[in-house]
């Protein structure tokens, strides 16, 4: 409608979710929105996931499913063919993460160009330190000493890379601090971040032993040759049941598929469109049990890696260059400068082994209690009562419409969150296929 009041929207965080949201806002707003993305990194779109420059770091999802727009699945591949006409490009290819970061930067630039002259989309190179309520909206106080008035603010701060409060080592993944090539390195965790850190060390020509320690010692599994998800309908799925009942149903489904000559991946991929509803309908007891007992198994099946990366990791294990230990770190004596003496209690035997004077990289994963996280904005919002953690303490409490819930349990009409911060409500919200849908729904809800 012409003459409709222009809305001002601030997006805190310019990684994948912030950029994808900005693009959707510009698409649906018809020039009635002025959006600012607050991101300290001058290279917008990189975030933690796509900052790496190493070609070995590739997407864990095939390019055909990584478009920023659900309704335009070939958007990324068209961009890629245009940008790198000389590259051989097979559909299903796992792009380099730096290429995807470049894609996101171009998505942002295109959205900003389309909006120039009407509403507008800008990148403010700063960090948001706090958000306060003022008459008629919000005031975002920025690290550069200025502040920004906005009617709506959306938190898109992603994963918390800060040191885990129990361990004190900054999270590592694709970005690894310099380590002497001959030192023994212990990586805490054996999931996707461990693989990233290991690839980085490999690329630097690390010669010392690399030991990965995790409770179950499970490596991420590889993608199959072809993606062939089973067709499911919500009428089939036992929503709202306890975890043991659900797991039995799910294992039977996998057994049936495999007995019919199919692959377990077909079932994991077939259920994915329903993961958010499964999570939402589980009683809180089932969610708790899932997080403590089933998640490690789920993660290695759900968060898979490119087959050639998987093969390389297995080769390194066979050659003794990478050692995988199933156990729990029972003692850490910090020696400073990211080194420590560790004691690991082995899962099967219960024996304790000492790992003396090793360099430590924390790749234990991305699920954190936001109240004790390293992001001062999030903790200040919780302290001020404008936000609270979800009952499982794995994210912020948000409604299904992404509105942040305050300490009294009331959803805000100005403050929203997207992406991994909303994990408590959505759970399956780490990857682009879900994030782009969430962004589209929120954009339409706010300005459509």
């Amino acid at each position: 409608m012409t003459g409709a009041p222009r809305r001002t929207i601030a997006i805190v965080g310019g990684g994948a979710s912030g950029v994808i949201l900005a693009a959707h806002l510009m698409k649906v707003s018809g020039g009635n929105v002025r959006a600012s993305v607050i991101e300290r990194d001058p290279r917008i779109g990189r975030g933690i996931a796509y900052s790496t420059e190493l070609p070995e770091h590739r997407l864990n999802v095939a390019a055909s499913r990584m478009s920023a727009f659900t309704e335009d699945p070939s958007h990324l591949l068209s961009w890629f063919r245009n940008k790198y006409p000389e590259a051989r490009d097979e559909p299903g290819r796992f792009l380099q993460r730096r290429e995807y970061g470049q894609y996101l930067a171009d998505v942002f630039a295109a959205a900003a160009a389309s909006a120039s002259g009407s509403g507008g989309l800008v990148h403010i190179k700063a960090e948001c330190a706090s958000i306060v309520q003022v008459p008629g909206g919000l005031e975002l106080r920025l690290s550069n000493g200025t502040s920004l008035a906005s009617q709506i603010a959306i938190l898109a701060t992603g994963h918390d890379p800060g040191p885990h409060p129990d361990r004190g080592f900054a999270s590592a993944g694709a970005s690894v601090p310099p380590i002497d090539c001959d030192r023994r390195v212990v990586i805490l965790g054996s999931g996707l971040s461990m693989i990233d850190a290991w690839l980085t060390l490999q690329a630097r020509g690390h010669r010392g032993e690399i030991v990965a320690v995790s409770r179950r010692g499970l490596l991420p599994l590889p993608h199959g040759e072809h993606r062939n998800p089973i067709k499911l309908d919500r009428a089939d799925i036992p929503f709202g049941t306890e975890l043991s009942y659900f797991v039995r149903w799910f294992s039977d489904l996998i057994d049936e598929r495999e007995a019919a000559g199919g692959d377990w991946r077909d079932v994991i991929d077939g259920i994915r469109p329903f993961n958010q509803q499964i999570w939402r309908d589980w009683p809180i007891s089932a969610k708790r049990r899932f997080l403590s007992h089933a998640k490690a198994w789920w993660d290695v099946h759900r968060h898979r890696i490119a087959p050639d990366v998987h093969a390389r990791a297995h080769e390194a294990i066979a050659d003794g260059k990478l050692r995988l230990i199933a156990g729990k770190v029972s003692d850490i004596a910090d020696r400073g400068n990211r080194t420590a003496d560790l004691v690991v209690r082995l899962r099967r035997s219960g024996d304790r082994i000492a790992l003396q004077d090793v360099s430590v990289l924390d790749c234990t994963g991305i699920i954190r209690d936001p109240a004790t996280g390293s992001n001062p904005l999030i903790s200040s919002l919780i302290t001020a009562g404008m936000a609270r953690t979800d009952p499982l303490r794995i994210g912020l409490d948000v409604t299904p419409d992404c509105a942040i819930v305050n300490f009294r349990g009331e959803p805000s009409d100005r403050l929203f969150a997207i992406g991994p911060l909303t994990r408590g409500t959505f759970f399956e919200i780490d990857a682009v296929p879900e994030i782009r849908e969430q962004c589209q729904r929120l954009a339409v809800g706010l300005v459509g």
Partner: protein, 149 residues
């Protein structure tokens, strides 16, 4: 179609949802009050316990109670546990799919419509909680009037 098992299970849960929170009921009492064969009800309640909808206690002071608030339990979730996928006809289920031996699915207009019915069943049953089912006015005549209003 809702089987007798599904119907009895829903009746038993409505019965339990009328009790003060935490209070247990004997299977015999639930069976008598709702006109359900007791042995059948034993089996039904055992399935509902496995799925996490009810809890049981053994012994003299024993019995069944709801495992969580009736406003958190959706009717569709109960029916799936007792009767399997919400499908009006076996060929309209994906996981418990059975083809009919007397028709060709590709040209079967009946199946096509039943897929739509499946969707409508889920729409209704997944949006009604056990508490809502318990509190609905028990009068068929009200239904068309409600829809017109």
């Amino acid at each position: 179609m809702l089987t007798k098992k599904g119907k009895y299970g829903l009746k038993a849960l409505v019965h339990l949802s009328r009790l003060p929170a935490g209070q247990l009921a004997f299977v015999g009492d639930i069976a008598r009050a709702n006109n359900i064969p007791k042995k059948f009800l034993d089996a039904i309640l055992a399935e509902l316990r496995n799925a996490g909808f009810v809890q049981s206690r053994k012994g003299k002071e024993g019995g069944y109670r709801l495992a969580r608030s009736p406003s958190e339990i959706k009717v569709g979730h109960i029916v799936r546990v007792l009767d399997g996928p919400l499908a009006p006809i076996p060929c309209a289920s994906r996981t418990r799919y059975e083809p009919c031996d007397d028709c060709d699915e590709a040209t079967c207009q009946v199946r096509h419509m039943m897929l739509e019915v499946r969707h409508a069943i889920a729409e209704v049953l997944d949006n009604r909680s056990l508490a809502e089912m318990r509190d609905t006015t028990n009068d068929d005549l009200d239904l068309p009037q409600l829809q017109q209003a």
